[in-house]
């Protein structure tokens, strides 16, 4: 039997998904919010970027279900306790198992059959010569090296067809459902864009999965592990750091910002003082200092982190918390200013006159009128944190070096780019995956802003 492992970040992400589900369920009752959200999804860009983000979240969710495999029993000896491997795997690893297990000895280019570096080899006569050795796990089914591109071509065609078929099932079902539900007349949702995005993701996914069984389609890195595997595993790190750090900023910014703007007086003074002090410290230095402290803590409490996964998970969570704690000031300032404005409005004054208590006034009259600021900040912060991870890992205060992350891949790229010939695939893989996620998040945040911000006039933006 396998042993399920629940890392703290896994539990957090499950709770987060559950609460988002609950939030959406609640949203059904609120016609105004529903209208705003349908505005987001009525735009083609919003729809497409949402599906891309959803795909990323799905992958990171698959990667958040961890388990440990039992070790094989020794020589049939009956053991009372099953020993488990110290390697923590995730469900995603099952899907990507051909990638994970196919290690080479060092760098190799995408689709290469030979290694990147020459090695000493012995020919049939026993003489030693230097040449590029064949890769162990790339193109080993080929009889001759010259067949490679034909092989890639027909496998690609097959994979693309397969991808089309895979996407056709949900699309067909959804179309069928839409035709029968009879609401088509009033629909403004651009389903065709959704279908196209889904089709594209499915085709690319199938192509990647089926070809990666035979080739290293993004090459291998210095120690010979597959770059594609690394960059896909890094998705979880990127997505989680974005969501968790944003999640940390929210309660601080919302509670402090609204109470400062609402109660004024000394509360306002204290909050203003706190955020001016915090934001006056250069953010990256504050983060670096805190991460150094966490390092010292881990070093002095090594006995609590007996698994590598546990240690990197703890450091990762600490990093999210630190990122969040150092970047709530912007939203807090905006919420304070907006609350100051809103609490002067007539209906809030009227609520006071009727003797409504503070909690109710804030909950019923103030909070709903500042939600647009919060929503816009959530999506903007998300992409900011994903980008920040790369910079922090480069500086050496990011996630654990054992953890797969785009920042760590970029960090390695510095020496790779100065090699001759250039090792470009690792940094390109990180770039493509990161750029797609951040671009989707930025485009989505623009749509959210357009739909929720009362100041943007339609057509002007």
């Amino acid at each position: 039997m396998i042993l399920p492992v629940f890392l703290w970040s896994d539990l957090l992400i499950y709770t987060l998904i559950a609460s988002v589900g609950l939030f959406l369920w609640q949203l059904r009752k609120n016609p105004q919010a529903k209208k705003r959200w349908s505005g987001v999804f009525a735009s083609k860009v919003g729809m497409a970027s949402f599906i891309v983000i959803l795909f990323y979240i799905l992958i990171s969710l698959l990667d958040s279900m961890h388990y440990r495999e039992p070790l094989p029993q020794l020589n049939g000896v009956e053991q009372q306790e099953v020993a488990y491997s110290s390697e923590v795997k995730s469900v995603l690893d099952i899907v990507l198992s051909p990638l994970h297990s196919s290690n080479e000895s060092t760098y190799s280019a995408p689709f290469a059959l030979h290694s990147f570096a020459k090695e000493n080899m012995t020919d049939s006569n026993g003489a030693i010569y230097r040449d590029f050795p064949r890769l162990k796990n790339a193109g080993s089914h080929l009889k001759d090296v010259s067949e490679r591109w034909w092989d890639v071509l027909w496998r690609s065609v097959l994979a693309i067809l397969l991808g089309g078929l895979v996407a056709a099932v949900p699309i067909g079902l959804h179309k069928f459902y839409r035709n029968n539900s009879g609401k088509t007349a009033s629909e403004v949702v651009p389903w065709n864009v959704a279908y196209k995005t889904l089709l594209m993701i499915s085709v690319i996914g199938c192509w990647v999965l089926s070809l990666s069984e035979y080739y290293h389609i993004l090459g291998t890195d210095k120690v010979g592990s597959d770059v594609l595997y690394q960059s896909i595993k890094a998705i979880r790190t990127g997505v989680l750091i974005g969501t968790l750090a944003t999640l940390v900023t929210l309660p601080l910014a919302i509670i402090l910002g609204i109470s400062a703007g609402y109660f004024k007086g000394w509360v306002d003074d204290v909050v203003q003082y706190t955020y001016t002090t915090l934001s006056s410290i250069p953010g990256i230095l504050l983060i670096a200092a805190s991460v150094l402290l966490i390092d010292v803590y881990i070093e002095t409490h090594a006995e609590q982190f007996n698994l590598t996964a546990l240690r990197s998970d703890f450091k990762f969570l600490a990093l999210c918390a630190i990122l969040g704690l150092t970047s709530w000031t912007g939203l807090c300032r905006m919420l304070r200013a907006e609350t100051l404005k809103v609490s002067q409005l007539d209906y809030v004054q009227a609520a006071h006159a009727f003797g409504v208590n503070h909690r109710r006034v804030i909950g019923k009259h103030i909070l709903p009128n500042v939600t647009h600021l919060i929503l816009i900040a959530i999506v903007l912060d998300f992409s900011m944190f994903v980008l920040a991870e790369a910079v922090l890992s480069y500086i050496g205060v990011g996630v654990d070096p054992d953890m797969h992350s785009w920042g760590n891949m970029i960090n390695a790229a510095r020496s790779e780019l100065s090699r001759d010939p250039v090792v470009w695939w690792s940094v390109s893989a990180a770039f493509i995956l990161m750029f797609t996620l951040v671009l989707a998040a930025n485009l989505f945040s623009d749509e959210v802003r357009n739909a929720f911000d009362p100041n943007t006039v339609k057509g002007d933006s």
């Binding site: 003082y273 970029i410 770039f431």
Partner: protein
């Protein structure tokens, strides 16, 4: 006006004290000097004697707040808090853990940082304003849509990629400039040109979008409509009417970062090997030299507060309607 500035200066003092206490708590109370010494010495087999030596060399062997062994005022001054924290308020940065004078290092390394940051900042603003004006000129057209999409793409790329890409293209592939390094004097230009170009490039996406929003808002005002109704040409309108008024929010927005140009850029300086304050900070972080990190934190917050003050003053200078009180 003068009274206002003085009051703002007084307001800065509690903030600086707050920064001081916060960094002190981070560096000395969460982690004791003993733990710091252990990490710095790094060896598994260190004795208490080694740690004590390390602490004595750097002045970490005193009590945190109150020194009970001394008399009178010295009970307060002969402590780590006074030595390492209060002295910062008088800009006495002390010595780094390696034993060099931090104040001297800062003075020396500030110039390369400025040499990168100031041109990047000025050229960046000019380029962004030009692009924003062009976009505003062709507003509500396909050009605007594609330019804005391009901006979003530009700002979705991490700064690290701009640097890596720029170094690869300009220095490695085309051999136009050296990959990294720095020399003083006239030779500096050769080394500075690539960091400046990359710095400007990395800022275009966000900057252009922000200025466009400002200019678009300005373009919807009444005076613009009146001027257009009176037959002012579109170019005249843009440069004589819109630009001067749009510059108010632009200028007041950027003033806050001007003092921070001193701090240099961590990424740029470390990738290009420029011996400025950014790479100084980065080296200190990587060597876990807490004395330097603390000094840089303090310097950074002082500069930020000066920036806030300059912002307030600049409001009154460019917009006569604003009165400070």
């Amino acid at each position: 006006m003068l009274a206002y500035i003085i009051r703002r200066f007084l307001y800065a003092i509690p903030i600086l004290i707050g920064v001081n206490i916060l960094t002190f708590a981070l560096f000395f109370m969460v982690n004791t000097p003993d733990q710091m010494a252990r990490v710095q010495l790094g060896d598994k087999h260190i004795t208490q004697q080694d740690i004590n030596n390390w602490k004595a060399q750097r002045g970490y062997d005193k009590p945190l707040f109150i020194n009970a062994e001394k008399q009178g005022l010295e009970t307060l001054t002969q402590t780590i808090f006074f030595d390492k924290s209060i002295k910062l308020l008088a800009f006495d940065f002390g010595k780094s853990d390696e034993g060099r004078s931090i104040g001297g290092d800062i003075q020396e390394r500030m110039w390369p940082s400025l040499a990168v940051q100031v041109p990047t900042f000025i050229i960046g603003i000019l380029v962004n304003i030009c692009f924003a004006l062009i976009i505003v000129m062709f507003r509500a057209s396909l050009f605007e849509f594609s330019a804005l999409t391009f901006c979003v793409m530009l700002l979705s790329i991490s700064a690290v990629f701009y640097i890596l890409g720029g170094q690869f293209l300009f220095a490695k592939l085309w051999n136009l400039v050296p990959i990294s390094g720095y020399l003083g004097g006239a030779d500096a230009l050769r080394f500075l040109i690539l960091p400046i170009i990359i710095g400007v490039m990395a800022g275009i996406g966000a900057g252009t979008r922000m200025y466009r929003t400002i200019f678009i808002e300005e373009a919807s005002r009444d005076y613009i409509r009146t001027a257009r109704a009176k037959g002012v040409s579109e170019l005249n309108l843009l440069f004589k009417h819109l630009l001067p008024n749009g510059m108010i929010p632009v200028l007041t927005g950027v003033v806050v970062v001007i003092p921070q140009l001193f701090m240099g850029s961590l990424l740029m300086e470390s990738f290009f090997g420029i011996p400025g304050l950014g790479s100084y900070t980065l080296d200190a972080i990587q060597a876990q030299d807490f004395a330097v990190v603390r000094a840089m934190v303090f310097l950074g917050s002082v500069l930020y507060i000066i920036g806030l003050l300059l912002t307030d003053i600049s409001y009154t200078l460019v917009d006569p309607r604003v009165k400070l009180s």
